[in-house]
Chain length 621, copies 2
């Protein structure tokens, strides 16, 4: 097989170079998320300013992207996060990943910073840093459109919106408007480099796959169909996408309401998946994906009547209902559209607003701060105004644009107790008091409160693989967390979309045939080797954070979860996190990390990360 | 000579033991401050909670204390500070130091914590932890009186006041009411151990000094008389104590007014040293000191008429005039009395109030926060009420009792810009924009913004030794800082009171005779050896802080000094700190520290601190 290729673009010097990705890197990391953390760890100095020119923005895809394999063309973006100061990995969909394959790039590493706005233009073997002044200020839809107007309709692009330009700390990188790398401010890093967009316009032909490979793909697709039709316990993604989560979490009592005080929304059926299904206009799909989990929806009545959006996920619905205690079905649609166009993470925006609502209730902020907005629970009109303030960094919005951790430091007076985040990343739509192992996964996640890097399908969907989990237990399941993490890391190498991978469909047997075929690494016929890649990625991510000074002290919940009983929570009523330290102990032990959450030398060496082990010894005295 | 002795008291276990102080410790550290940092470094684990039982409270005296030598009986108290988290050294006067000598203890190390209030009672060779419940709640004057009632009039004591008991973070340890170890919360550490007082009642005879030693003392006294009569450039301490500072700093334009916005007070002559001299009732002196810098004063008219206090220093006058923009002569007297009785550091209290006044002006706090107090510049009546709130930890006072660093974190909204502190210790009465090398000394001082550990007599009194200093220059005088620091460290070993030592009177020649005689270390006949002790102490203090994570990033000014021009400042008008980084570079280089302010291995080894060098390597990777 031929070498995989990366493009290194230095915006400070203007240098653009192709580099080979060594075969050993493929054998150790497969692609995607593995490539990202490997290069970020090796190329970033500890203490790098996430918004300085020394941070790097790394796009990477997996070996299956653009090959015709289903649900495999997502792209990963890796950088040090301006929200968390940790390693961070975003992930987006649509066609950008496939287009990277078509121009034969497995990675793009963006370094440095230009003095004025630019965009990067890529054809097969042709790379150019182009003047982006005319794009600056445009929203994501306008930007993509403008690029198509300049370079033709086949040109796709990943871009930032106006909120990114204003360095809102949780700006997204958008492809096809709604298919964002949404969390952790990857768009903010891009904006800090004055890079408005990366446009890809494939000019080479797409190679036809071999007959053998085609047969493999056919078998894979058949497996996926089982899932799409609805395996027991798997969510009906093809029909409703992630909106089914609204029903599931409200029934379980883990749908966080009013800034994580309650576990279900008043009259939540007003925003159930059936209600959103009734608004569906058409299905939307990423490149080469038979699941088509995405939908376009249009609001039928009420103050947002006529507004339509696509990519309306469970998390976004929650961000604009649960967070502020509203059950208006239209507001999430309107807010999602705004966030997509301006390039804002909906989760961080929603949680920041819920935080502001609680400060308003407690009197820590007043109408003087809100320019008269009445931030009372349920008031979605005020929320819409506040969201615009965040997007434009106006008044109170300028402070909330920093995220709840920094906003609470700004407002003081005990407001940190209401700042719902882990390591600076705003909490997503799961109350950890009712899904304690999913919670542990977020507390230990290298990116902060990220729900998709070890999603506990066991707790949330009753997935019995590898065994069932008691969601209220505080001991005995850390091994499942390790498996979920390592497995998701493998999935994130670009084998599959998370929504396929997380439910362990298709089978490992298929993977053992697929991976050797696409990577040229025969060792991947061994299941253990595959899982070891996941473990290697997880440990390297942890090592990155350790090098930045993170350890056990940072694997911590907002105070609320350990001091307040969960209310209005049906079967989760009255739950609370009891002995979290014990859960951490169990998890660290299973991981082969020390009591302080630092990977042991033995563990790192067993994963072939000996040099990293030396770094850690150096770092930790 | 016989071994010097320390008393180790463990309040948790009740164990009390005498230990020998090794001769090598005397040769390396002389006594006092040197002993304190040596034991604190060796016995404290990094990361120790300053208010936890693991912190230690170390009292130490120097070799001349109680020997009949003049101005030599001050006592040093060393602990990790609850305000700064650094090494800290307090220093107090009156008779406590001499009494330690009379019971033949060079040091007392207090460890652990009792469950209920106690006091430590000491006679010659007899030590007892006694029930202190009846003393708890008493103010410092009442406490000392009660101890004399129990143990007889010869019993002296060092004690905490009610504000210490309430763990106000800048509580003092008082002897004879006004002779406090005032700064850095040494009283808070004592209170955290439930130790109300240490009472000393000497029951042995005081040995008559040898004839030779008597002759030395006589020569020393003669030298001191030159100073007391007023050497050129030396302040008239015997007449006015430190109150002369009011005139000098207002004339120079470095008397900080309205939370360090201006450099002289409106109508400052209303509070000049002559005005305070007119209030003098009588002179007050520490044990065996011919200088008698202290005075009792009584207010003649106005709202505080009839109130009297002693130990009214320059800093205290400033804390209750300049900080809040008042020029009422009586308020500092009344406030000083309150602070002495309740056991509060006047500087930290005054700066905390000035901070609150500025927040009130800026609207960051309102009458809702102040319980209706109008904190407008010049309002000393409101300040008196606020001071009582601090002392009792009521309302706003409860927050200001944490010091301005923590209070600004509490209030947020940019209030850290108005929090005038270095490393958490509130700034004293010198505007660094007009005395830039004195400022550098405070920025690099191991205890934070402490003015007495390298007092720049060169800038403030025109002292030409070792050479004159341009107070507006930003390069060329870091060597003087080093000399001032190392020299003060030697003085603080208990050779002399700071007020004698800082003005380099008497001569080094006398010291070369005195030190070998009192320590039994012939090497002290060499001036270099003496200065090396100072350098050893300074470096060990720095190493303590490095081990706690402090470095260049912490040697920093409040923003105001580098962004706002000094106003109303006469000859200092319009001054500002320009390139502070360059001053730091120069200082670190002279010190033999690296660019990050870490002592180099070579420097530490040259001072016989090889083991500490190893610790630093361990710590710094």
């Amino acid at each position: 097989m031929k070498y995989r290729k990366l493009l290194r673009v230095n915006l400070t010097t203007g240098a653009i170079n192709e580099e080979d990705i060594p075969p050993l890197t493929v054998a150790n990391f497969i692609g995607g998320r593995g490539f990202g953390v490997n290069y970020l760890y090796n190329e970033l100095k500890p203490g790098t300013d996430p918004l300085g020119p020394e941070n790097k923005l790394i796009f990477s895809i997996g070996p299956l992207a653009g090959t015709g394999a289903p649900s495999s063309s997502r792209w990963i973006v890796t950088a040090k996060s301006p929200l968390t100061g940790t390693y961070f990995r975003g992930c987006g969909g649509a066609d950008f990943g496939a287009w990277m394959r078509f121009v034969e790039l497995d990675m793009i590493i963006v370094e440095g910073k230009t003095e004025s706005p630019v965009y990067l233009y890529i054809e097969n073997g042709h790379y150019e840093i182009k003047n982006g002044k005319n794009l600056w200020g445009k929203n994501t839809v306008e930007t993509e459109q403008a690029i198509k107007e300049i370079h033709g309709p086949k040109a796709t692009s990943a871009c930032i919106g106006p909120s990114g330009e204003r360095l809102i700390r949780y700006a997204t990188i958008a492809v096809d408007r709604g298919h964002c790398a949404g969390r952790g401010g990857m768009g903010t890093v891009m904006a800090s480099k004055n890079l408005k967009a990366i446009a890809i316009n494939p000019t080479g032909g797409v190679k036809a796959p071999s007959k053998d490979f085609k047969a493999l793909i056919a078998r894979e697709l058949a497996e996926f169909q089982r899932f799409i039709r609805g395996e027991p316990g798997s969510p009906p993604f093809s029909e409703k996408g992630t909106t089914g989560g609204v029903d599931g979490t409200n029934i379980l009592g883990v749908y966080p309401v009013r800034n994580f005080r309650e576990g279900s929304l008043d009259e939540w059926k007003k925003i159930s998946s059936d209600e959103y299904l009734a608004l569906k206009v058409k299905s939307v799909s990423c490149y080469g994906c038979p699941v088509h989990c995405d939908r376009e929806v249009r609001v039928k009545s009420g103050p947002y009547a006529g507004v339509s959006t696509k990519g309306l996920e469970y998390e976004t619905i929650w961000a604009f209902t649960g967070c502020i205690g509203s059950n208006d079905i239209g507001f999430p649609v309107a807010a999602d559209l705004l966030c997509d166009e301006l390039g804002i993470d909906t989760i961080s925006a929603g949680v920041s607003m819920g935080f502001a609502y609680e400060l308003f209730e407690k009197g820590i902020i007043t109408k003087k701060d809100t320019d008269g907005l009445e931030l009372v629970w349920g008031n979605h009109e005020a929320a819409f105004e506040l969201l615009k303030k965040i997007a434009n960094r106006q008044g109170l919005g300028d402070i909330l644009a920093e995220g709840v951790k920094r906003a609470s430091a700004y407002f003081g007076r005990g407001s940190e107790d209401y700042a719902m985040h882990i390591k600076g990343l705003e909490m997503p739509a799961f109350d950890v008091r009712g899904v304690k192992w999913h919670g542990l996964a977020m507390a230990t996640c290298p990116c902060g409160a990220f729900h998709n890097m070890a999603f506990s399908t066991q707790e949330l969907f009753g997935n019995p693989w590898p065994r069932s989990v008691d969601r209220f237990a505080e001991e005995g399941y850390a091994d499942i967390n390790k498996i979920n993490e390592d497995w998701t890391a493998v999935v994130d190498t670009g084998i599959w979309c998370n929504f396929i991978g997380e439910w362990q469909v298709p089978s490992l047997n298929l993977l053992r045939e697929l991976l050797p075929a696409v990577t040229g690494v025969p060792q991947f016929a061994d299941e253990k080797t595959i899982f070891q890649v996941g473990e290697r990625i997880t440990n390297l991510e942890r090592a990155f954070n350790v090098r930045e000074g993170f350890d056990r002290k940072d694997d911590i919940y907002p105070k609320r979860f350990t001091t307040e009983l969960l209310k209005k929570a049906g079967p989760s009523e009255g739950s609370i996190i009891g002995n979290f330290g014990k859960m951490l102990d169990e998890y660290y032990a299973i991981r082969g990390w020390d009591q302080n959450g630092i990977p042991t030398i033995e563990k790192l060496e067993s994963l072939g990360l000996g040099q990293i082990a030396k770094d850690i010894i150096k770092q930790r005295k």
